[in-house]
Symmetry: C2
């Protein structure tokens, strides 16, 4: 089945409230929707969340890159998906978000074409997963209140953003820990130096917080610093911004600089590279986490399918759909509190155009 | 679609002439045929070549292990192939050949079920590859004569077995090199010590032989020795018996002990682990080779599909079908001299039962 055309449109989705992390603040998810049309009318969907400070992809560059790359897809057979993805990769370097969006749309179209859901294509290990939910940087009182709301909705694992101000960070974590009986993951988004990071994680640990993961404590390029934190942390340490590709994963595994690798399709450029990172992590005995940017259900769905299909992720952080005011398209997975469920998807990633939304892609 | 039953039968295939390598001699390929029957009548085929001295799998143990494992498959859904493979892996350790045979049969059944050929399932990078062909340990005269016959049949790359006697090995390589204008790969099957290996490869190189690869020069456990050979060889060095799994690949890549990893499904236990080894090799910048034991077209076909579907192999050594007196089943791939072609396969690995053969599985 041949590819007919590729559409790319901006998708601006307001957030329910500002999302604040050590790297910046966001009010509107300035995403990009990619549609790959096959000759039989099938549409494969992909979405890119602009996360320039992490991946270098912003809305305008994603649209530019998709327009620059995708003319080579027209007339090509969707069956040869690996060939198509390699062909695109040979044209331009970097832009992992744009690549992920195109690849997700290709794999959605491909798995619709062969008539199976993506998670079954990837192996069908399970049909549901449980995600944590993120509390961004805010006051201790607001954080505790938000934690209670999430706890009531059924979330048992909270991820708290830190890395901006040591004292306020500590108070935020303590306030949440006292407000709810949840497992807590901590994400500094590179905000500490190695000594601060070790001091911080030991402080919350010694204070009795039920903390189970410390994500990206120090600058993404500081591998030795990351290893220092890992060697001196009472809980597993995860690399996020430090690992984009399978080669990054190999290099960090070789140094044993972390315990866990956080895969995001927007960083690695798509499911194929994600499978390679999974392989490297498994081969070297590292654990795996899967995360997201600010994608709607369209961009999240391939990650949910990847986590379900392979069953390889110990830490799941696929929560961005919760922060958006509305979802311009429907489907992808069902949500039941912390559960993300794909079992009723018959083919592809299960996205459908919606007439309900005020945001017209 | 549910799995109905699993059949396992011995498949004894005489060789055209004895196959002799540093590790031993073989007159009959004592293989095992595995058939996975789905409820709709689909049959998935797998074949294991007993290669006890390398993998620990001999015909009787393979049959035992398949019978021990496969009752858990009955009634399970073929769609959840990764779940099934992991379930089997959790029951018994080692026996990579037996696992490869079962997994190959599962993936053949699965890709027939979803109606696409295995190489398209794996990405459809290309639909044909070119293999070398192996000259086993024999006299220089016989080796030269065999080389000329293969050259006439269209083979442009010869792999010569060595590792038994330094002087005779050298004479065999020289005789072949003088007899034909071909690229030459050398495989010692662990037969040398590191100093001998370095001396051997430099001798043939200095003598002007068009040698492009030196495979498994030293004992499989001697990683430091392998690295010593790699550091002192004028051509790339490949690990074969040293690397079974993705973890083996990671460990050897970490030490940069070789330039190339030779993947064989019979060593790693199937396509999924092979994909993981590919990922580790790519992530660490190593090249890849794909090889075989003494499988017929049934056991070779998944490797041909893997090489075609991923397009990741720089060195292809899938030649065992040439050494067998007959092929008990038909299909799998077409052969045109050194070319192995999968483009006409519509689903699965393309194996069909044959009424032509005198060997009844």
């Amino acid at each position: 089945m041949k590819i007919k055309s590729v559409e790319v449109v901006p998708l601006n989705i307001p957030l329910k409230e500002p999302f604040i992390i050590a790297l910046g603040k966001c009010d509107v998810a300035k995403n990009v929707l990619i549609k790959i049309h096959l000759e039989d009318g099938t549409i494969g969907y992909g979405e890119v969340s602009s996360s320039g400070v992490i991946t270098g992809d912003v809305q305008s560059t994603v649209i530019d890159v998709v327009k620059y790359l995708t003319p080579v897809l027209a007339g090509e057979s969707i069956e040869n998906y690996r060939y198509l993805i390699k062909k695109l990769r040979s044209i331009i370097k970097f832009h992992p978000g744009a690549f992920a969006g195109i690849e997700n749309a290709l794999l959605d179209a491909y798995t619709q074409y062969i008539g199976i859901p993506l998670y079954k294509f990837l192996g069908g290990m399970r049909d549901e997963i449980e995600s944590d939910i993120t509390i961004s940087i805010t006051t201790p009182e607001k954080a505790a209140q938000t934690a209670q709301e999430y706890s009531k909705k059924g979330f048992k694992v909270l991820k708290i953003k830190v890395g901006k101000d040591f004292k306020e960070d500590f108070e935020r974590v303590m306030a949440v820990s006292e407000a709810v009986d949840c497992e807590i993951r901590i994400d500094a988004n590179q905000g500490y130096n190695p000594k601060e990071a070790v001091k911080f994680i030991n402080s919350v640990w010694d204070a009795g917080v039920n903390v189970t993961l410390f994500e990206q404590p120090v600058h993404c390029q500081n591998i030795k610093g990351l290893k220092y934190v890992t060697d001196n942390s009472p809980v597993p340490v995860a690399a996020d911004e430090t690992v984009f590709t399978a080669t990054d994963a190999f290099n960090i595994a070789r140094e044993r600089a972390v315990d866990v690798i956080n895969i995001k399709l927007a960083k690695c450029g798509g499911v194929l590279e994600a499978l390679d990172i999974i392989a490297v992590a498994k081969a070297s005995g590292l654990d795996l986490m899967i995360g997201c940017m600010l994608e709607s259900n369209v961009g999240l769905s391939p990650s949910v399918h990847l986590a379900c299909g392979t069953g390889e992720f110990s830490y799941i952080d696929l929560d961005s759909h919760v922060f958006l005011k509305e979802l311009p398209l429907s489907g992808g997975f069902e949500v039941d509190g912390q559960k993300l469920i794909v079992k009723n998807i018959k083919e592809g990633i299960g996205i459908k155009e919606s007439t309900q939304s005020s945001i017209k892609p």
